[in-house]
Symmetry: C2
Subunit: 270 residues, 2 copies
């Protein structure tokens, strides 16, 4: 069997093929030892049962996906505290934060960005007490309107500096590959001990859908090896996590084919 050491599977990648139990068993069959479940998957399986399933299949959790949405969810503070508790119960390495886009009808990026800083600050004591690091994920600028108003690694790191201990960043190739300051800022993230996760997927040309047309590593334009070298040089030793949303392609294929391809590309392309 191909070597899956150092590989994690974000369960969104195989969410159309499996429920949580099926996904866990499939990952275990392929020799994968790290996964990232989504909260809706955990909720429909039950938190305790999820923990049992993952443990029974020898799986550890990189990040729980996801908290955040501070700009658009009036219940965001309580909901993020619940997400922190769930992450703690699953032994997750971090809680991934997709911070939220512009509120409906708003064009005020500055206020939305302030709401993100305030929201994370409000839940940070709870996260520190639970020993769950909060992982701010800067998203590609094309998601600024409706998903995340944190759009560069430098911006996320500035936020970390302002917030102090207990927060860090997700480095996702899909979101960050284009940034002219990428290498500088990965080094900065490492120097500040802020790297909590490393996600991988490829940027396709053409991209047919802004959200759900991510590519398997090697099928797009991203140069993965320099990215990985920079992340390792910055001191991160955790797994690389495949996170692919793909309505027209990978979500339509058999789960075993998707996982085998992830492992193959991880070993050859990344």
């Amino acid at each position: 069997m191909a070597n899956a050491d150092g590989l994690a599977i974000n369960l969104a990648t195989i969410r159309k093929q499996y429920d949580l139990r099926g996904a866990a068993e499939a990952c275990a069959r392929h020799g994968i030892s790290w996964v990232a479940p989504w909260r809706d998957q955990v909720a429909s399986t039950g938190l305790d049962e999820t923990a049992r399933i993952l443990k029974g299949n020898g799986l550890r959790v990189t990040g729980l996906c996801r908290g955040g949405m501070f700009t658009v969810d009036p219940n965001a503070i309580d909901d993020n505290k619940s997400a922190i508790d769930e992450a703690a119960a699953l032994g997750a390495q971090c809680l991934v934060l997709v911070v939220g886009g512009l509120p409906t009808g708003s064009r005020d990026l500055g206020s939305a960005r302030k709401a993100v800083a305030d929201g994370i600050a409000a839940v940070l004591p709870h996260a520190r007490a639970a020993k769950v690091p909060l992982a701010i994920e800067p998203l590609h600028p094309m998601y600024a309107p409706d998903r995340a108003v944190v759009n560069t690694l430098a911006q996320a790191l500035d936020l970390c500096d302002a917030l102090g201990e207990g927060v860090g960043v997700v480095l996702d190739t899909y979101h960050l590959w284009w940034d002219p300051n990428l290498m500088r800022d990965i080094a900065r993230a490492g120097a500040g001990k802020r790297i909590l996760a490393h996600h991988i997927s490829d940027f396709l040309v053409p991209t047919r859908d802004l959200l759900n047309d991510r590519g398997m590593m090697g099928d797009g334009v991203i140069d993965f090896k320099p990215f990985r070298r920079a992340v390792e040089a910055a001191g991160y030793r955790g797994p690389q996590e495949v996170e692919i949303f793909s309505t027209a392609d990978w979500w339509t294929r058999p789960g075993d084919e998707v996982l085998a391809t992830c492992i193959d590309r991880f070993n050859t392309v990344c």
Copy 2:
């Protein structure tokens, strides 16, 4: 008639409705005095005839669209010199440069960015002699693969600093609105006397097509007035130029409706 002072129309906005002569006459009818033609429109009309049509309709040229493509066109240097000559013949305020994306099969952003700097440097003496400023247009990061590897205003300004006199930037709301450093970098562009053009269109939610689904000002998420104030505070006094590519919407409407809407939104939203 509504006031179109300070408004320019990029002729891509009405390219499906009119040929160059028709577009010029329509703009003149609406009291518009600035246009930006594309080179294919100029070529099919003829350069001298284009100049006559524009002059006969009282139209001046903001920028000629476009030069660039240094990363992908083996004939880019000669072609950009021709574009410079055409811009001079039309009395254009600048030649807009869409610098080019990754060459087919390449994932090497660093080399592509170097090729852009080298390409502009190679044609810059010709541009200076012709007194045609070269306007580097930073494009939204979603176009890094296939259109332009210059993706932030700061990156474009660094390029200008390295190149010296005779180059500047296009400030396009669609490409730049999300940038956390936007206000800082617009001020920097002004301080360096680098602002050569100000393009406007809106970012729609959802965006159905990466290239040809731009919105009319007011229909998306961009806050135009602070952008305009920053550009004016930075010392730019030229027109704001509407540039909308819109397969499913504005390209299907009567040209008079498109132009009237541009003028109305310019006066109310921008």
